[in-house]
Symmetry: none
Subunit: 221 residues, 4 copies
DNA sequence: TTATAAACGAGACGGTACGTCGAGTCTTAAC
DNA sequence: GTTAAGACTCGACGTACCGTCTCGTTTATAA
């Protein structure tokens, strides 16, 4: 996991020298579980801190000692779900992409994810710290999937190797970013904005488009 | 415009025989202007109905007589901005796409748009009526840009004409949907989730990918 | 009846010279009936002008054209009930008093009367015009009962005749006022404040006290 | 004092084991003071809970945590004033009664008392819990004055002693109730309904009537 | 017969207060 | 120094009535 606590405990290493009753580790897990459960039942808009505390059988003070507010709490509760995504080797780049697209779509179909992700991103447009936290906790972490798929395809010979030198590395990073935005953006938009199902047929057509596009991209960049 | 009022007035057609003082048309405009101004200054999260009413010099009840709540009001206030998008003819499909991508990015860069769009979509995950309204007011309306660009490219010979018969029409519709999700999704994700600028360079690289992808798509579907 | 309308119509005599549609007499009756019905069902506190208008099948404007507000409307609706009180000749002062006490108690037992009377009096503590109107419409009108009973008792020889001259008249007026306050006050207090029933036994005991008191009063004043 | 709080705290005895932050005692006093001040300035009709909260420098929720509504709050604020009434020994029953009548009249002349008392009684006609509360907080408490005056007069020999046995006790209680209704009723009616001053002259005449009446009553009951 | 003028129904309007809810803080006693 | 409990301040919520207004319509007299 990542970064839950915010209170005075955070800074001072847990190594030594502190006194008093230690924070309950079980409480952390109970709170995050309760948060996800509340998201499922109520959605972002109706979720309240008091309700989460009650579900977790914890006092509200305990919540606020560890998270700055609803945004941060929900982000942590949801971010961990994204770490379950992985890129199983299905033998070809096309199948790998289709697989991860469907995995991602399945994740976005979960009520806690779909309601929380957009809401937290919306809040982040007026909260820089939150935006940073989202990028650390979700965006950058999941780019690993693109990087991994690319490397695997290069090993298979489906994609040309990166160009050498700092120039080549920068180009590779730009490609990763672009591909990540295209994949994540298209799936999110299809699922949440257009409100159409991301099924195997759509995934196949999208992957076809993307692979052809990659070909065009590589020849130039 | 589209669909502001919600109250009992909506149903009964305004055709004849209605009694009572008519609703003020000026109030509608003042309210939507005030809503956009409040979005700019406060963002979705801090915007309140009372504040909007005060800015519009209107009673809170007048707001609630016309819109069911914050979601519906903000949606109407923002949806009209999307109608300003257009597809100027720049001579080639590539330039047309780059142009609309940059226009769209500019729209998403406006504070009222960026804070409102994601928030309303987030709310729509737990509100079916709202989801429908978003699709009518934004999603379906803007597909016209894709349709128009496609037709223009076909006229220019940059894209093959649609296949004949109902089969061909369905394939064309699927293509439009897919392309729309890819373009809108990628731009939104780049701008709001990744938080990176959508500048001319990015637009060019994205368009290159998309055009190559379209080629791959057309040969098969 | 007394004084319902307040609007511009009030001043100019109805005799001549006005044009336009005349006020509906039926509406007046319907409104006052509706007011009493609403008092019974809802009590003073929950009664609303809109509700009265709806019950009377009349527009709110029609109410406000005739009465200045809730206080005035309710006062008029209730005052007329007090005019039903009368002093039947039962042959002796004691029986006459007991009769009127029980009549008055029965009137106060009606839900519309009990809830309205106290409330309007309460409002009149901060509204001089209302206080005047109450005195005209209720208090002074009902003193006739005391005057009448006194005269009848004097005719029977149960009470000595008034003293002569302005002196005697003033003393008589003072007596009437005092007796009225004692009777009305005791019955109202018993019924509404103490919340005990005003039954025949109580009326008999009260009348005994009052009659003995009157004897003491007459010998001196 | 008596009975201010209504919330969950009321039930569970304050004996032991309760947790959480205790209610502020200072807030209670500030609220009741503010209520009386608002009654003086605004009268019952214009008094609002929000205004009382603001005057007491307390949140509106704190009011509602302790009192169910305006009726209960105002009753508590005013009831305490009635406890200031007392029956100084002036040497004779007549003087004692005149004294307490004038004291009571002075209390009713205070703006907070006059506007609140009638209004709360009016509300109590459609609210049984409120009626009970009024009787406990005001009516029954002030009967002590009648009881005390009666005992004192009996000690002085101005009134015969109570009859013996349960019979005599019941008769005494009936007398107390009757006398209380007559005194309180007459004074309230004179002051608030008739709107005439309760001055020494009126008090003397009323007391004369009452004392003579008591004589008649005692010989029979 | 036609104007004129007021009453009328309907319902939108600007306000004010309501009573509730949630956020986030603070104060206790217990651990 | 954390914990549970719950009171606290603050601010927004959405609703209910208020009393006024603006319509179109109806119903009388007066010209």
């Amino acid at each position: 996991m990542q970064c839950s606590p915010t209170g005075p405990r955070k800074g001072r290493a847990r190594l030594t020298g502190r006194t008093g009753r230690p924070r309950s580790a079980a409480a952390d897990a109970a709170i995050l579980d309760a948060t996800r459960a509340a998201l499922v039942e109520l959605g972002w808009g109706k979720l309240t801190m008091g309700d989460v505390a009650a579900r977790a059988k914890v006092a509200k003070t305990t919540l606020y000692r560890r998270w700055a507010g609803k945004n941060e709490l929900v982000l942590d509760a949801v971010a961990v779900l994204f770490d379950e995504l992985e890129l199983p080797d299905r033998g070809s780049l096309k199948d790998d992409i289709e697989g991860v697209v469907l995995q991602f779509a399945a994740l976005l179909a979960r009520p806690e994810t779909k309601t929380a992700l957009m809401a937290v991103v919306a809040e982040s447009t007026t909260d820089d710290a939150l935006r940073t936290r989202i990028r650390e906790a979700v965006v950058e972490r999941q780019k690993r999937l693109v990087v991994q798929g690319r490397q695997r395809a290069q090993r298979r010979g489906e994609l040309p190797p990166d160009g050498g030198g700092p120039e080549g590395a920068a180009a590779a990073a730009r490609s990763v970013d672009l591909i990540f935005d295209v994949i994540a953006g298209a799936v999110v938009h299809r699922a949440l904005v257009s409100g159409e199902p991301v099924d195997a047929a759509w995934a196949a057509r999208f992957t076809t488009l993307l692979l052809a596009g990659l070909g065009g991209l590589e020849t130039r960049d």
